[in-house]
Amino acid sequence: MVPIQHYLWLAAVLFCTGMFGVLVRRNALVVFMCIELMLNAANLTFLAFARQRADNLGHVSAFFVIAVAAAEAAIGLAIVIAVFRSRGTLNIDEIRTMKH
């Protein structure tokens, strides 16, 4: 069997990659993709622990996360489309209307 640490390391690397992307990338769509990456990393962690504990709780949680990720992606993409329509750009640096 694959030791659980491998899964956890993989999940951690995925999570950090995703976080780095969220903080640094300028394109809104790429930011969303990175968010998905973070969510999947969380999923992987859940499944790894579920396997280790021989528990169904992790699987159920993963399902929850997938459902929430899907909903969040839908709404987020809708917002991105609305922003693109009004601003013509997806560059986050240029969308700062909430500035003081």
């Binding site: 976080m19 969220v22 903080l23 640094v24 930011v31 986050i92 640096d93 969308i95 700062r96 209307t97 909430m98 500035k99 003081h100």
Partner: protein
């Protein structure tokens, strides 16, 4: 028994005596109707004030005069009733009733804690004398005013205020406790304000009214603080003397203190009886120099607190009676109509201070220090203002300063314990001063409101009635040539002062006496000057009208009556009654029941020792010579005044005259020392403390700091989603590190 029946049985003299010694009304009934004396002028004031304009001039005059006339009649009845042996006052504070007094408690005014002030009226011989003077002189002045103010627009206001004044003065005179007296005290000050500033279009006149009120208020401050301390004093006395009495609860004084309040005059009289001299020990009494054991006054002795109280009362009396240092309002008060000056500032309101001290005579004689202060204040004021009166050219101002000077005489008498002489002088002064003021009013009326005596002259032929009454009144006040009432009253004071000595202040009475003599000389001088410049000689070249016209009979009648009273007043001042103590004047005998306690305490404590130095006749002669000298000097200088003085004044004279004309710059001094600093303090406090420190720095400063803090914090809102996310991540990492750290420990 009826008068006619009596004649058949006894002699006329006996029947007359019995007639006048029997009250026309039941004394108890009279006591219950005393409030009417106050209510009539009060009602008159309200009716005239509210409806006067609609009622018309003659109706207003009628209502005003009728109200005061009614009061006068009732006062006469009250006076008469007092002679009845059945007229006794049963005071709650004493076991035995008080003869020659009637009174009634009409209920509680306000009460809180152990304090109570009630609506009580108490009329004894002193109050009755004041009642007659106040209502009588007021009636004459009301009649005079109907003609004097005959062309004034605000006549209804005038009579309303005048009636209100009379009501207030009557409250003052009849009150049975200090708080109610204070009502009348401030009330007359209020009416004085309204009447002095009667012609309010003129800022200066309105300001004079305000000056009067504010200066009076300074005196009232003293009075108020004195009253408070007196409440504390009585309380301490009651507490500390409880141990010396066998059954405190059976003592009517103690019981009444709780039920009727500590500031009742009869109660205070009883309290003064419970003070013993330092050396002796009387049961139920506390020595004067005993220390107060507990309460806010702890540590002070009864005597020193009483002295402080009386000195504060002196401040109050100095304010109301225009003595040093608070006399400055009276000369400015001449801005009001002349009848007002006659009534308020000659006959009634200014005598309130003298009345107050006479009322609390039993307290005054317990403190030689206070008595010395009163006498000295009176003497210095008498001299100071007499000197100012020398150089005044305004007829009313001369009379104003003369009033202050004469009030000084009254204070001299009070200060040395000769209360009856002060009251006698009060009465005679009321008559001749009112006559002088009304005469001045008549002169002004007939000369187109001219008040400068340098621009008058020669009125003797043109205004005979005014001249005659003014002359009689002038002779009365100065005692020049013919001794009239004023001569005897002033001499009673001077003789009394000369033959009394204050305990511990032996130097006071000779000093006061000498100052009194000099002031008498000055009085004769300036009155002579006033009379001569106004009435004798030739008409001044710059007079307003070529010929003066005499006043109508409405104005002449009061003048005549007052002049007659100035003459008849002699009978009160001559020793006509023979008692066990020797020959007494009528006034002294009349007022003796009032000052019984004061006399007892004086004898007990030895406050005032009477040493007869010289006979009465010699004293009379001395005073007569001085008056003659003063009048003679005035005659010498001014008889040939117009058209020009027969010699130019010397430079020394000129500086003295300059200073006197400008009232020794006292007003300016007060302005510099008091008014300007208060104004400055108020301005500085407003600009610096309120506006700058509190409002700008503290309040707006707080708002500014909050706003700046907000601006700074706003920089966190970059609008950049990723920086927000970065902050979240950092926080998360920090927390994770902390958790890890905790787990690994």
């Amino acid at each position: 028994m009826a008068f006619s029946e009596c004649l058949s049985q006894a002699s006329l003299a006996d029947c007359l005596q019995r007639f006048f010694a029997t009250a026309p009304v039941d004394p108890a009934g009279m006591a219950q109707s005393l409030w009417l004396i106050i209510a009539l002028p009060l009602a008159g004031a309200v009716v005239n004030g509210v409806f006067g304009k609609a009622l018309g001039r003659s109706n207003t005059n009628l209502i005003a005069c009728a109200a005061v006339a009614g009061s006068f009649l009732l006062s006469v009845l009250a006076f008469w009733t007092l002679n009845d042996p059945q007229a006794v006052l049963s005071s709650a504070y004493r076991r035995d009733p008080i003869p020659y007094a009637i009174g009634e408690d009409f209920g509680t005014w306000f009460a809180a804690g152990t304090f109570r002030a009630g609506f009580g009226l108490d009329v004894d011989h002193l109050s009755a004398t004041m009642l007659l003077v106040v209502t009588g002189v007021s009636l004459l002045i009301h009649i005079y005013s109907t003609s004097y103010m005959g062309h004034d627009e605000g006549y209804w206001r005038y009579f309303a205020y005048l009636n209100l004044f009379v009501a207030m003065m009557l409250i003052l005179v009849m009150a049975d406790n200090l708080v109610l007296l204070f009502v009348g005290w401030e009330g007359v000050g209020l009416c004085s304000y309204l009447l002095i500033g009667f012609w309010y279009d003129d800022s200066a006149k309105a300001w004079a009214g305000r000056k009067a009120f504010v200066v009076n208020r300074i005196g009232d401050f003293g009075f108020l603080v004195g009253m408070m301390l007196l409440v504390l004093w009585v309380g301490a006395l009651e507490l500390q003397s409880r141990g010396t009495v066998a059954q405190p609860s059976a003592d009517p004084w103690r019981v009444a203190l709780l039920r009727s309040g500590p500031l009742n005059f009869r109660g205070l009289e009883e309290a003064s009886r419970r003070i013993a001299p330092e050396t002796s020990q009387i049961t139920g009494a506390i020595p004067l120099d005993a220390t107060i054991a507990q309460g806010p006054l702890a540590g002070f002795s009864f005597g020193s607190v009483l002295t402080a109280i009386l000195l504060l009362f002196l401040l109050g009396a100095a304010g109301k009676s225009a003595q040093l240092p608070l006399y400055v309002w009276l000369p400015d008060a001449m801005a009001g109509p002349t009848p007002v000056s006659a009534l308020i500032h000659a006959a009634t309101m200014v005598t309130a201070g003298v009345y107050l001290f006479s009322r609390v005579s039993y307290l005054l004689v317990l403190s030689p220090t206070a008595m010395a202060a009163v006498a000295l204040v009176g003497a210095l004021t008498a001299l100071w203002t007499a000197l100012i009166a020398f150089a005044q050219n305004d007829i009313k101002k001369v009379l104003a300063y003369s009033t202050i000077s004469q009030l000084g005489f009254m204070f001299m008498a009070v200060g040395l314990g000769i209360f009856w002489a002060a009251i006698l002088h009060l009465v005679t002064h009321a008559f001749f001063k009112a006559c002088l003021f009304l005469g001045a009013g008549s002169v002004m009326h007939g000369n187109a409101e001219e008040t400068d005596i340098k621009k008058l002259g020669g009125l003797r032929k043109e205004m005979p009635w005014t001249w005659a009454t003014f002359l009689i009144a002038s002779i009365a006040i100065s005692g020049f040539l013919i001794p009239l009432s004023g001569f005897f009253s002033k001499d009673a004071i001077l003789h009394g002062v000369h033959s009394s000595a204050l305990k511990g202040y032996a130097w006071v009475s000779p000093t006061v006496w000498e100052i009194g003599l000099v002031s008498a000389f000055c009085t004769a001088f300036y009155i002579g000057r006033l009379y001569l410049l106004t009435f004798e000689g030739k008409r001044a070249p710059d007079a307003r009208v070529p010929h003066a016209h005499e006043a109508d009979w409405v104005m002449r009648l009061p003048l005549v009556i007052l002049a007659a009273l100035s003459v008849l007043g002699i009978f009160y001042g001559i020793p006509l009654i023979h008692t066990s103590a020797g020959w007494e004047t009528v006034m002294e005998n009349f007022l003796s029941p009032v000052f019984v306690t004061a006399r007892q305490l004086t004898r007990l404590f030895g406050t005032v020792k009477v040493e007869h130095e010289g006979s009465l006749l010699a004293a009379w002669a001395e005073t007569w010579v001085i008056a003659l000298a003063g009048g003679g000097l005035a005659g010498f200088l001014y008889l040939k005044y117009f058209p020009s003085p027969h010699r130019a004044p010397l430079p020394a004279e000129r500086t003295v005259l300059h200073w006197a004309r400008h009232k020794f710059y006292v007003d300016e001094l007060y302005e510099l020392l008091i008014v300007k600093p208060v104004r400055l303090a108020s301005f500085v406090l407003y600009k610096v403390v309120d506006t700058l420190l509190i409002d700008t720095i503290a309040v707006r400063g707080t708002a500014w700091v909050t706003a700046r803090l907000g601006s700074l914090l706003r920089y966190l809102q970059t609008g950049d989603t990723q920086s927000y996310a970065a902050v979240m991540v950092l926080a998360l990492l920090g927390w994770a590190a902390y958790a890890l750290f905790q787990v690994l420990r």
